[in-house]
């Protein structure tokens, strides 16, 4: 690799995509109260529109960073505003810009108090999240990574449910403790890697085993809290239950991905030896998360908690795929990150729609919704089936690839992980059975309105994606091939000679 970066266009495209929401957030304070929602929606849609050309212009044949920009930020030590995307970050970037308008739509009626501040906070969040996925400088990455904490803290704490104070603080402290260690790890890498914060340069340095092991665990804590991996997951159910719908969607669909992204971007390329050493532990933790999350989901009476625990389980598949350390596993993991973002985000939107009507998230209070709300029931069934990985839906492709990858690494691990798929079918179908087709339990759910146009507008794009990725996953997979192969070559692992299956 002579030059790790290529310049596709002269226009600072990525900067525009990243900072447009921030500009929009500032703008919100200057528009009339009645126009706040529309302004936020237009900004979010404009950002989505701005990000689509990235996909069209993206060159999938190269693992190199594209659309790069680089400006000196701090002179001493040399820290650069250095950004770019490759096949690993592109899907996550698009996922973020895609979900934000849906979150704005979902908060249209649900948020009544301080709507201006809420929309502004959401847009600031979007900038921070996008920044994490495009940053190529460690300090820049860290700044975006941490900057996201305060808006999320406010979203949960100000607009959340009854127990929001506890949940917000728990979320904040868990993630902060994780990320401060990341800062020290970044500094250690800086001094051992030739005094640069450039991720690409740092990935080419061979660190001594001691440094690798220490840094691995520091990175691990930071990323594992975010994913969240067992045993660092306990903040997640609290945060999800208390957060407003849009907050839950951001949390599940994008924030959790940042942890997995961290593993792919830092741990694997920078610390290949430590990664290989500790892979069994990582796989074990992933398997525990898959089974434990699924098992806990079975026991939940609260819909949001159920989906929160199912997230723990699904993210276990993601980390499992990553640490299978082969092309199938990692591509499956990335695809599964996108899928989980779509499907779980959609399930949270479903719960939000129910909550707006019945003001309860309990399964028992929301039984038998198929009769009054047929459109809603259809949507719920689609996303539940997608979440449990029914062939033809998006998650099937992802989970299948992860399982193939794991199978190549260890057949026993794959067998255990497959149990998680079965459990997922149990808790999701059981939930659907009760919510959609159960007998109304004395609660008057007969007169509930079905989904209106605005709500359909939030769900339809997600349904389309579920089937599109489920039936034609290649456009997404092609984009990541080169980057993933490069990553694997880089980690210097034997590539397993099995063609990526085309379901």
């Amino acid at each position: 690799m002579s030059d790790p970066t290529i310049q596709t266009t002269g226009f600072p495209w990525l900067t525009a995509v990243v900072f447009l929401p921030l500009a929009g957030a500032v703008m919100l304070f200057f528009v009339k109260e009645s126009l706040v929602r529309w302004t936020a929606l237009v900004v979010a849609l404009a950002d989505l529109g701005l990000s689509l050309p990235l996909w069209l212009l993206f060159d999938p044949s190269t693992p190199r960073m594209q659309f790069t920009e680089r400006v000196s930020w701090i002179a001493s030590p040399s820290i650069n505003y250095s950004i770019g995307i490759d096949g690993i970050s592109l899907p996550l970037l698009l996922l973020t810009t895609f979900l934000t308008p849906l979150c704005v739509l979902a908060s249209w009626k649900a948020i009544e108090a301080r709507i201006r501040e809420f929309m502004a906070t959401m847009l600031i969040m979007e900038t921070a999240m996008l920044g994490v996925f495009v940053a190529l400088d460690l300090v820049l990455f860290y700044v975006f990574w941490e900057a996201m904490l305060i808006p999320m803290y406010l979203i949960i704490g100000v607009w959340g449910g009854p127990n929001r104070l506890y949940a917000a603080m728990k979320f904040f402290l868990y993630t902060l403790v994780g990320s401060v260690l990341l800062l020290i790890a970044i500094l250690v890498v800086f001094f051992h890697g030739g005094q640069t914060f450039d991720m690409l340069l740092l990935s080419r340095v061979g660190y001594s085993p001691t440094v690798q092991n220490w840094v691995f665990w520091a990175f691990f804590v930071a990323f594992a809290v975010k994913v969240p991996m067992f045993p660092f997951h306990t903040w997640l159910p609290d945060a999800h239950v208390e957060a407003p719908t849009a907050g839950s969607v951001f949390l599940a669909s994008v924030l959790l991905k940042m942890g997995a992204y961290g593993f792919l971007r830092f741990t694997l390329p920078m610390l290949p030896d430590a990664t290989e050493t500790f892979t069994p532990i990582m796989v074990a933790l992933s398997l525990i998360a898959i089974l434990y999350g699924a098992y806990m989901a079975l026991a939940q009476a609260d819909l949001k908690k159920l989906i929160a625990y199912s997230s723990v389980s699904h993210m276990g598949f993601v980390t499992l795929g990553i640490f299978a350390l082969n092309a199938q596993g990692i591509e499956g993991a990335i695809l599964q990150m996108v899928n989980h973002g779509i499907t779980t985000g959609a399930l949270f939107l479903c719960v939000g729609a129910i909550y707006e009507r019945t003001h309860s998230r309990m399964i028992a209070d929301n039984a038998g919704l198929a009769r009054p709300m047929p459109r809603f029931a259809t949507v719920l069934v689609i996303f539940a089936l997608s979440s449990l990985g029914l062939p033809g839906t998006n998650s099937f492709v992802g989970e299948f690839l992860v399982l193939v990858g794991t199978f190549l690494w260890s057949q026993a691990a794959a067998a255990i992980a497959a149990l998680g798929v079965i459990l997922a079918a149990v808790y999701l179908l059981w939930m659907v059975q009760r919510v959609a087709f159960g007998l109304p339990d004395g609660h008057n759910t007969e007169r509930l309105r079905d989904l209106n146009l605005r709500e359909m507008a939030t769900f339809v794009p997600l349904v389309v994606l579920v089937f599109w990725i489920g039936l034609f996953p290649n456009p997404v997979l092609t984009a990541m091939h080169a980057s993933v192969n490069n990553l694997i070559e880089h980690v210097d692992l034997e590539e397993v000679s099995l063609a990526v299956p085309n379901p």
């Binding site: 930020w73 001493s76 900057a147 104070l165 402290l173 401060v180 800062l183 500094l187 250690v188």
Partner: protein, 493 residues
């Protein structure tokens, strides 16, 4: 003996400040009570003139009064920081003093006298001159701490501060006299020459070293010499608290670094371990005790103790014997950077506290911030930014300050110290965010009648705008500050 003109130009800013202080005190009796503002503006003009003079002297390196004071970039850096802190304190005081009904002209005179003492501290290269600076600073602060003379708490603060301050000054003086006995001089250069070659062979030197650590420990308020801080910070008028927390701490660190690195640099192998212990103890105790505070000024007092602990990381790095000169220099410059950043965020936080003060009723308890985001969205937002910055979360200046300190620590091979520091920074986020939580996530009690008005004034607006700008801009673009501290750093051998 005639004074050469060059000696006088070296202390020109000090002379201006003393003249302005005398002028303010002299004009005070003939200024009508409603016009006391003029004295504040007069003080601000003198500060502006001094800032101009000091900036123009930034490149100089002049030793004056037969080596009693040294005008070097290092001194100029601290002086500029002190002007800034004093200026913002004066601006913040205008409305606050009126609310508290203590708007007296001598307030500004004492601020200026105290500032003059601080300026002498940071430019002196002789222990006795430093001592004189410390005394001038402290005596003025004792008066200022008791400025709310109708309030028992304020008087208690003044008395406590005076007793403990006098005690610590005595200890410091004792240390200086012992050092004089060993080195035969109070000049830092002479002391460095005397102790550099011998190490700790003399018991008197051991005692002197310990006494100096204790004396300076009191002034920068580090554990275990921090006891006076919470009571004094709580009782003193808020603007004075801000001044003490920022300016007096900065000046003390300025003198402290010079004494220990230039005068006692030869003994760094001996004081390094001492400061390492103090540093960790300060970070732990400051942050842990701050959690349980219910009074915002006490909380900020403990937080200021904790921040002194972070700053000590830089001192420890500078005293690390195995590290090379460049690393140790980075330690010193990161202390300077940190205190500059700390000045902005702490002054801002205290300014918001002062602004909420309404005639002895409100503004001191954290509970008083309940629902502030609904009542005063702008004030709440400002407090949010300052709290986030104090917690060290990007993209604020507080993060940049911590980043350089931690970088220095990791570079010097003290990674474990950086880990301790970040973990306690995470602890600190808890109590800083509690203020945010109270402001944003609790509903205000329904109040009868019109909402109480803030102690707001155009001057306060300037304070808040400039501290906010400092916290945000230095967080986004710290280059100018970094280059100034790198330029002005002490040259270490």
């Amino acid at each position: 003996m005639t004074l050469p003109l060059s000696d006088l130009t070296a202390v020109l800013p000090e002379l201006i400040i003393v003249a302005a202080a005398c002028l303010v005190l002299g004009l005070d009796p003939i200024t009508p009570a409603s016009r006391k503002d003029w004295l504040a503006w007069l003080s601000l003009v003198s500060l502006a003139v001094c800032a101009g003079v000091t900036s123009s002297q930034m490149h100089l390196r002049v030793s004056a009064f037969s080596d009693l004071v040294l005008l070097d970039p290092y001194a100029c850096f601290w002086k500029l920081l002190l002007y800034l802190a004093s200026g913002l304190t004066i601006l913040m005081s205008l409305a606050y003093l009126r609310t508290e009904r203590i708007h007296l002209g001598e307030y500004y005179g004492f601020i200026l006298l105290s500032l003059c003492g601080m300026m002498i501290m940071v430019s002196a290269t002789d222990l006795l001159t430093i001592y004189l600076g410390i005394e001038l600073m402290s005596l003025s602060l004792y008066v200022l701490a008791g400025f709310k003379r109708f309030e028992a708490r304020s008087l208690e603060a003044a008395a406590k501060y005076f007793v403990l301050g006098a005690f610590s000054s005595g200890i410091l003086l004792y240390g200086i006299s012992l050092l004089f006995g060993v080195a035969g001089s109070t000049r830092l250069a002479a002391i460095a020459a005397a102790v550099g070659s011998r190490g700790l062979d003399d018991p008197a030197l051991v005692v002197a070293l310990i006494l100096l650590v204790v004396g300076f420990g009191f002034k920068i308020a580090v554990v275990p010499f921090h006891m006076w801080t919470p009571d004094v910070y709580e009782g003193a008028p808020t603007s004075v608290t801000a001044f003490m927390a920022v300016a007096s701490k900065a000046a003390s660190f300025g003198a402290f670094l010079r004494v220990f690195l230039e005068g006692l640099g030869g003994l760094k192998a001996n004081w390094y371990g001492l400061f390492l212990v103090v540093c960790v103890a300060t970070m732990v105790l400051g942050n842990v005790v701050a959690i349980v505070q219910t009074n915002i000024k006490r909380m900020l007092a403990y937080s200021s103790i904790a921040h002194a602990g972070y700053a000590l990381i830089g001192v420890v790095v500078a005293g690390q014997t195995e590290a090379e000169g460049a690393v140790r220099t980075l330690g010193v410059s990161s202390v300077m950077l940190y205190l500059a950043v700390y000045a902005f965020m702490t002054l801002g936080a205290f300014a918001v506290v002062a602004m909420l003060r309404k005639g002895g009723l409100e503004g001191d308890e954290i509970e008083d911030f309940t629902g502030l985001a609904k009542r005063q969205p702008l004030a709440a937002f400002l407090m949010l930014v300052f709290m986030v910055s104090l917690a060290g979360i990007p993209p604020t200046a507080g993060f940049i300050g911590k980043f350089y300190l931690f970088m220095a620590a990791v570079k010097a091979g003290l990674t474990w110290l950086a880990v301790v520091a970040v973990l306690f920074a995470a602890v600190s986020a808890y109590y800083y965010l509690r203020v945010v939580m109270v402001m944003y996530m609790r509903d205000p009690e329904p109040v009868e009648g019109p909402l109480p008005r803030l102690a707001m004034s155009p001057a306060m607006t300037i304070v808040l705008a400039s501290t906010l700008a400092g916290v945000i801009l230095l967080g986004l673009y710290p280059n100018p500050l970094v280059s100034v501290t790198t330029y002005a750093v002490l040259s270490l051998k």
